[in-house]
């Protein structure tokens, strides 16, 4: 008995020692699921830079779903019918006198896809720049190419929050997460956009003339050389210059862009969607599906269409059964759905040749260069199959025509063109509310989180 007792105690003590030399010793536990941000900001390898670069392309499209659904609703290019949540109708259409507040439905306390997502892309671009600057694994030209790409995306993305909150202004000094700078005016924000795009232009200029040194997604097919990216950058600058009302600036930017008056109007870089593990195209809906959550064409777009316009037949798919959604503010009926996407992995372009030609028309019209303006308008009209422009050639008439063509050429692109166009030409009243008894928002207040942050640091 004694012996077995001895043995048992012996094995127990051995077991205790074997359990762990010291049970109070804890292992160092690192994130088992993700690398850390710090891992790329110092001495990143080429592959790490590639991953952060692709991450930037991913962040670059973060705005698409929300901006497409919401801003195009604000501009009454579409209705986003959603039977599961009436607020997509009541709140987004401003029914019953609703006006955007700091945590408005669909935007949350950060401003969501219309505000926070673009700033995520801007941060991602900054991390990419930091990674590229703090490593020896790439050469100077490659560094310039990377930084040029990052600055280009930053320039593009800054325009989104700027247009969302408009006169309320945005922060442009955002590099320190714990010490963001003050709000600047819309004009100053767009000057910052221009400055970023000019930097990008310079950087691309010192990055050689070959292929972009890292892999871009198929969204940049045909635009993945340094010169082509430089053209994309200038195309973005042309759009920014339109908002800056720098008409001459538009023309000079277009000179260096991929605008091609005789080329394919659809040509342009895009956000790719290839399905899992990637996302699906968020704007695609199966034709004629028996569903009650769907983007439909706003009836005013159908009512105002020119007979025979190819864009109407190409972009709008007429359903056999309309979609009907009832809320306590009434019923909305959609007869046509978005027909632009062949399938749920179609890429979504973010700037196209068609827009560049329209920008050219607009700049010429604004500069009083009537014939050049009409020439550009006619490229669009001919393509749409509605013949040459025969209307008046006063500046007012030309702008009317250009804005009308923009409604159909740029219909429901992930930008909310009509909403922004109506605001910059002070024509918010032209956007019809009779179809839904709603109201047209001019701009959004700063989201709640911005106010909270200012309070926090003010305390």
């Amino acid at each position: 008995m004694k012996k077995s007792l001895y043995h048992i105690l012996y094995f127990i003590s051995l077991g205790l020692i074997g359990f762990a030399c010291n049970p109070l010793q804890l292992d160092e536990i690192e994130d088992p699921n993700n690398p850390s941000v710090q891992s790329v900001t110092n001495n990143a390898s080429r592959s790490q830079i590639q991953f952060v670069l692709t991450g930037l392309e991913s962040r670059h499209r973060g705005y698409v779903t929300n901006v497409s659904q919401a801003w195009n609703t604000f501009g009454r290019e579409i209705w986003y019918l959603n039977a599961s949540d009436p607020r997509f109708q009541t709140d987004w259409l401003g029914q019953g006198g609703r006006v955007p507040d700091r945590s408005y439905f669909g935007f949350g306390i950060t401003g969501g896809g219309s505000y926070f997502a673009p700033f995520q892309a801007i941060l991602q671009a900054q991390v990419l720049i930091d990674a590229a600057r703090n490593t020896n694994s790439i050469n100077e030209a490659e560094r310039n190419a990377i930084e040029g790409f990052a600055r280009m995306i930053q320039g593009y993305q800054f325009m989104i929050p700027a247009n969302f909150v408009y006169e309320n202004g945005i922060r442009i000094d955002v590099e320190n997460a714990l010490d963001p700078g003050p709000y600047v005016s819309y004009e100053e924000a767009l000057d910052h956009v221009r400055s970023l795009l000019l930097q990008a232009d310079q950087l691309f200029a010192s990055a050689g003339t070959g292929e972009f040194p890292f892999t871009l997604t198929p969204g940049f097919n045909n635009f993945n050389s340094i010169p082509a990216l430089r053209q994309v950058n200038n195309a973005i600058l042309a759009r920014a210059n339109a908002y800056r009302e720098d008409w001459q600036g538009i023309l000079s930017a277009l000179e260096s862009s991929f605008m091609d008056l005789n080329g394919n109007l659809q040509s342009g870089p895009a956000h790719p969607y290839s399905g899992p593990p990637d996302l699906f195209n968020p704007l695609f809906y199966v034709p004629d599906a028996d569903i009650n959550t769907i983007i439909v064409v706003h009836p005013s777009v159908l009512d105002d269409a020119t007979p025979g316009d190819n864009r109407v037949t190409e972009k709008f798919f007429e359903r056999s059964q309309p979609v009907l959604v009832t809320t306590d503010a009434g019923t909305l009926q959609g007869t046509h759905q978005d027909g632009r996407w062949p399938n749920n992995t179609s890429p979504i372009p973010f700037i196209r040749n068609e827009e560049l030609i329209l920008l050219k028309a607009e700049a010429h019209a604004q500069l009083g260069q009537t014939s050049e303006a009409v020439e550009a308008i006619n490229i669009i009209r001919e393509a749409a199959g509605i013949g040459a422009y025969s209307g008046g050639t006063s500046q007012q008439a030309l702008i009317d025509e250009i804005l009308y063509q923009r409604r159909y050429s740029l219909w429901a692109e992930p930008w909310g063109h009509r909403w922004i166009d109506a605001r910059r030409y002070d024509r918010m009243d032209d956007i019809p509310t009779s179809y839904d008894q709603g109201s047209i928002f001019r701009q959004f207040p700063h989201p709640q989180s911005e106010i909270s942050w200012d309070q926090y640091v003010g305390d």
């Binding site: 008995m1 007792l5 048992i8 105690l9 012996y10 049970p23 109070l24 804890l26 160092e28 536990i29 994130d31 088992p32 699921n33 993700n34 941000v37 891992s39 991953f51 952060v52 991450g55 392309e57 991913s58 962040r59 039977a83 599961s84 607020r87 019953g96 945590s103 439905f105 306390i109 505000y115 926070f116 995520q120 892309a121 941060l123 991602q124 900054q126 991390v127 929050p161 922060r171 955002v174 997460a177 714990l178 963001p180 790719p272 290839s274 899992p276 593990p277 809906y285 199966v286 599906a289 028996d290 569903i291 009907l324 306590d328 019923t331 009926q333 989201p447 989180s449 942050w453 926090y456």
Partner: protein
């Protein structure tokens, strides 16, 4: 090395042997019986006061105990369920006839207070609630252990998330201790830290309801067979739970399972057969041509009128929910043993359907609890439990676009349209919503299968035993391995699926968690004059590992659920986590003659979750109880116990895994993988949430403990409460965990137990509990914010200094209130009270019932919002105001457009448990079965028999977001709570 151990053990062995040598000078003999029945008490404990010597009574209730000198002494005689008594003995007084009285008020109950020690309830300085097996499962059969705790613990707010089979309950002890997570207590079963998480199922992903907190999953305490439980102790706050350290902020629930006793082998077979029906349904509104013309837009009216005139009327609530579910439970227990080895083996098959077709809960559990004395001084106990739980919870609750929620969907379907399949089995397209809910109920799958193994061990070694002291080593620990396979499936032929590019959706999850814990302690019991001292110290080690992998397949081959039969195959989530914790504890108890009992202790903990994983945090405690009635001067006969007590303690709540990380997440795009900066900036200096609690109260016993009263007041203050600091979104990141907030919970807990009548043929005992808690955010530290629910337009919660975070605010704006919205309610109940009564007639017929009354506390009732939108709320078209606008479009308060329309008082009274049991007289059993059967008992019982409430929903207890600290009262088309009725038969062999 080995040599050192050898010598140490020889030393210990020598000590052990030497202590046994002594000479008896006189011997005391005695018997121990029940004072009412006169029956001998077998196995009663006889201890010589202030020594470690003792014995137990034999089969005739007799004992003999030798004394080694001629000094007088005191014997303390006790038996489980009886009040202990003291007897003076001396060489001239060697005969003891102890008649013990039943312990109606549980004063003798032994309560776990340290990690390796226990204390008698009558000496306890904290309000620790205990629930015995009889209290837990003696009245009726309840699916899950937490469900069986309703109304039995003062200070516990237990809330069911819905009525789906398989559990899903939240327990909050003494209010809210944490703003993040769910503020749920730590649960320890036989010393094993078990996983009680709500695991992801994917239902909310497939139905597009939202994040996994809208899955309506079950919490995994559901796996434990409640009938295996011997007792549950609830340490409600830091003052009692300090010795548990880092994980004890929200309290600790200590579950002890049944064990064998020496003696004849007992075989017990129990069978329950029952059925469930919905506790409450609201009804749906009827339609008229007038209502159709009002409700539908002009161009839609003809088709609606045509459908209406076809004459079909279907009450969809009744159709989907009002089914009778069969409930069966089979339990087999075998227990017994001898002096050396004791065993308890149990098997349980629970098979319970739900009231919605194709839902149900099956649980198979086997358990073996073995105790073995290796020697007189070494005792080993092991507890092994394997469980398989299989749960089908169906499709209820929130959804978006998919229509895959019965209640959400039928809120929009008028009763004149027939959704049922035609003769050829074709389901009509639902023109009112994106899906046919009949088809989803018939063919959708929302299943979770858990395989689980819980193993505990406990080793006690008496190292040293002298006349007045002993030293004991305790080594204990165990593991909990849990594997959960989930499947959510919507087949390709469903209406919504047909409208998708890739019809058919299957979401498969595999989750594994593996917890291990280990503790080693030395306990030294010694005497300092008349003061009995219990000193203990030891160390604790905890390890938690979780792995989860979720895959999704869309575009399925008809009828197939294998991922390789999917066009689109997707890894939705892989998430691994690992946590290690270690602690050291010291505790000193001092007991002066059961008159003054004091405890001081401290625990130091560190955790890999903290910003600094090597920093020890100290959690001290101290408590004092004075048994005034045990002093000689006490001469108030009617009051036999008067114990003022005070206790203080500190604990912590763990930091969530990942709070210290600033991750680069993976993001696939266009065939490439990107690394993207996440939304969180990790806080590498994050501290655990800490709480301090001061608790004081008094325990009283009247009329020889026929009446017991327990009154407690507590103030629990938490510091370093973690909440997300919102960063400026312009910086591209949105949150960083912060330690700024502080909360205070204050409350009262009262308990009154009484043997109202105690006659030989009729007994009536009662227990009334009352508790209330008030929460206050004493410091916010970051700007005021609202969070939870579905935003201010539908009711959300206010986080502001001076307010309870349970405050419900919403539109319209009110600039007077921080956060800028109007205050419309508070989800915190004003008070809870429960009453349990038990009546026994002729010792054979027993009737008992438990009622609970929860007063106050508001819900956000969005089910009403949905049915009002769809015109299907019962009475929608009535017009109480007579202004031509029906009620459904004009919910108060005016102007009928604010969040207050959906904030409703959720007060209720529930008759939780009712049982009527008859035990066949033993003589009759023996006559009939001649010893083959020892005992026969049968009865009827009910669970959730009645609900009384003004709330306009199936159950005022509901939470579409599952267990949450705060937003746990949002009602969206839940699974209706069942009323359960049972017939029971119990045979002992």
């Amino acid at each position: 090395m080995v040599k050192i151990y050898k010598s140490a053990f020889f030393l210990i062995l020598c000590l052990i042997i030497s202590t046994g040598i002594a000479l008896a000078q006189y011997t005391v003999n005695g018997t121990v019986t029940d004072n009412r029945t006169g029956e001998p008490l077998i196995g009663a404990s006889v201890l010589v006061r202030n020594t470690t010597r003792g014995t137990v009574t034999d089969l005739d209730g007799k004992f003999t105990i030798p004394f080694e000198n001629n000094e007088a002494g005191t014997l303390t005689i006790s038996s489980l369920g009886y009040l202990s008594q003291n007897f003076s003995v001396s060489p001239s007084n060697t005969q003891v006839d102890a008649q013990l009285q039943e312990d109606a008020t549980n004063l003798e109950e032994v309560v776990v207070t340290g990690l390796a020690s226990t204390v008698k309830r009558s000496n306890l300085a904290n309000a620790v609630s205990s629930v015995s097996a009889k209290e837990l499962t003696g009245t009726t059969t309840i699916q899950t252990t937490d469900g069986a705790l309703y109304g039995k613990i003062a200070g516990a707010t237990i809330r069911s998330n819905g009525g789906a089979p398989g559990g899903g309950l939240s327990i909050q002890l003494r209010g809210i201790s944490s703003l993040m997570g769910a503020s749920q207590p730590l649960i320890i079963v036989d010393g094993v830290y078990i996983n009680n998480s709500f695991q992801r199922t994917g239902r909310a992903t497939v139905t597009q309801a939202g994040a996994s907190n809208q899955d309506d999953g079950a919490n995994r305490l559901a796996d434990l067979n409640p009938n295996d439980i011997e007792s549950i102790e609830v340490l409600k706050g830091p003052s009692a739970a300090a010795i548990y350290g880092t994980r004890a902020n929200a309290g600790v629930i200590i579950i002890t399972t049944k064990r064998g006793a020496a003696g004849q082998t007992k075989v017990s077979l129990s069978q329950d057969i029952g059925f469930a029906t919905p506790l409450r349904l609201m009804g749906v509104d009827d339609w008229s041509e007038e209502k159709i013309n009002f409700f539908w837009p002009e161009n839609r009216r003809p088709v609606e009128l045509e459908r209406f005139r076809q004459g079909v009327r279907i009450d969809y609530e009744d159709f989907f929910y009002n089914n009778t579910a069969l409930l069966t439970n089979t339990r087999l227990n075998v227990s017994g043993g001898n002096d050396k080895t004791k065993f308890f083996v149990s098997g349980n098959i629970t098979s319970e359907d739900g009231t919605v077709r194709n839902t149900g809960f099956d649980r198979y559990s086997i358990r073996a609890n073995i105790d073995h004395a290796l020697t007189d001084r070494i005792k080993l106990g092991v507890s092994s439990n394997y469980i398989q739980s299989n749960t089908d919870r169906g499709f209820t609750g929130n959804q978006n676009n998919t229509g895959a929620s019965i209640g959400y969907n039928i809120a929009y379907v008028p009763n004149y349209f027939d959704l049922r399949p035609d003769e050829s089995g074709i389901y009509p397209t639902n023109p009112y919503f994106g899906e046919n809910p009949v088809a989803v109920t018939d063919h959708g799958i929302n299943n979770s299968e858990v395989n689980r193994f819980i193993q505990a061990f406990n080793l006690d070694i008496d190292l040293l035993r002298t006349n007045t002291s002993f030293l004991r080593a305790n080594v204990a620990g165990g593991l909990d391995f849990l594997q959960n396979s989930t499947m959510v499936y919507l087949p390709e032929f469903l209406q919504f699926q047909r409208g998708q590019a890739n019809p058919g959706d299957v979401f498969l999850g595999r989750q594994e968690s593996f917890n291990t814990n280990f503790q080693a302690a030395l306990v030294y019991n010694w005497n300092l004059g008349k003061v009995n001292m219990n000193s203990q110290g030891g160390l604790v080690r905890l390890d938690f590992r979780n792995n989860a992998l979720f895959n999704r397949g869309r575009g399925l081959v008809p009828g197939q659920t294998n991922l390789q039969q999917a066009t689109i195959q997707e890894i939705v989530q892989q998430f691994d986590s690992q946590v290690q914790e270690a602690g050291i504890f010291l505790q000193q108890e001092a007991n002066f003659d059961d008159k003054i009992v004091g405890t001081v202790g401290v625990r130091w903990d560190k955790s890999t979750l903290n910003g600094n994983p090597n920093q020890y945090y100290a959690f001290p405690r101290a408590s004092l109880a004075v048994n005034v009635a045990n002093f000689d001067f006490w001469n108030v006969g009617a009051i036999n116990q008067l114990k003022p007590r005070i206790a203080y303690g500190e604990t912590a709540g763990p930091v969530a895994f990942g709070n210290t990380f600033t991750p680069l997440s993976g993001a696939n795009i266009g065939g490439l993988l990107g690394s993207v900066v996440g939304t969180q900036v990790g806080n590498t200096e994050i501290l655990p949430e800490t709480a301090t609690e001061l608790e004081f109260g008094v325990d009283m016993g009247f009329l020889n403990n026929r009446i017991g009263l327990e009154a407690t007041y507590y103030i629990k203050s938490t510091q370093n409460n973690i909440q997300d600091l919102r960063l400026s979104p312009s910086t591209g990141v949105s949150v960083s965990p912060s330690n700024e907030a502080e909360l205070q919970n204050k409350g009262i807990e009262l308990g009154l137990t009484a043997n109202v009548l105690d006659m030989s043929n009729f007994k009536w005992s009662t227990r009334i509990l009352y508790w209330q808690n008030r929460i206050n955010m004493t410091r916010l530290g970051i700007p005021v914010y609202t969070l939870g629910g579905f935003g201010p337009a539908l009711g959300t919660f206010l986080y502001a200094e001076g307010f309870s975070p349970t405050t419900i605010v919403g539109t319209p704006a009110d600039p007077e209130i921080p956060g800028g919205f109007t205050v419309w309610g508070n989800s915190q109940p004003k008070f809870n009270t429960s009453m349990f009564n038990s009546f026994t007639l002729y010792n054979n017929l027993e009737f008992s019932f438990l009622m609970e009354w929860r007063q106050g506390g508001d819900n956000i009732n969005l089910t009403s919002f949905l049915t009002d939108s769809g015109g299907t709320t019962k009475g929608w078209f009535d017009d109480d105001t007579g202004d031509g606008i029906p009620n459904g479009r004009q919910r108060p308060p005016a102007p009928h457009n604010n969040a207050a329309r959906w904030v409703q008082d959720a007060s209720f009274v529930k008759v939780r448990e009712v049982g009527l049991f008859y035990t066949v007289p033993r003589t009759r059993v023996l006559e009939t079965f001649g010893g083959a059967v020892q005992n026969i008992r049968f009865g009827f019982s009910a669970n959730n028999l009645f609900l009384f409430t003004d709330y306009e929903g199936y159950d005022p207890e509901t939470s579409t977001f599952g267990a949450q600290s705060v937003a746990n009262n949002v009602d969206i088309a839940p699974y209706p709570t069942p009323r359960r009725l049972f017939f029971h038969v119990n045979l002992d062999f």
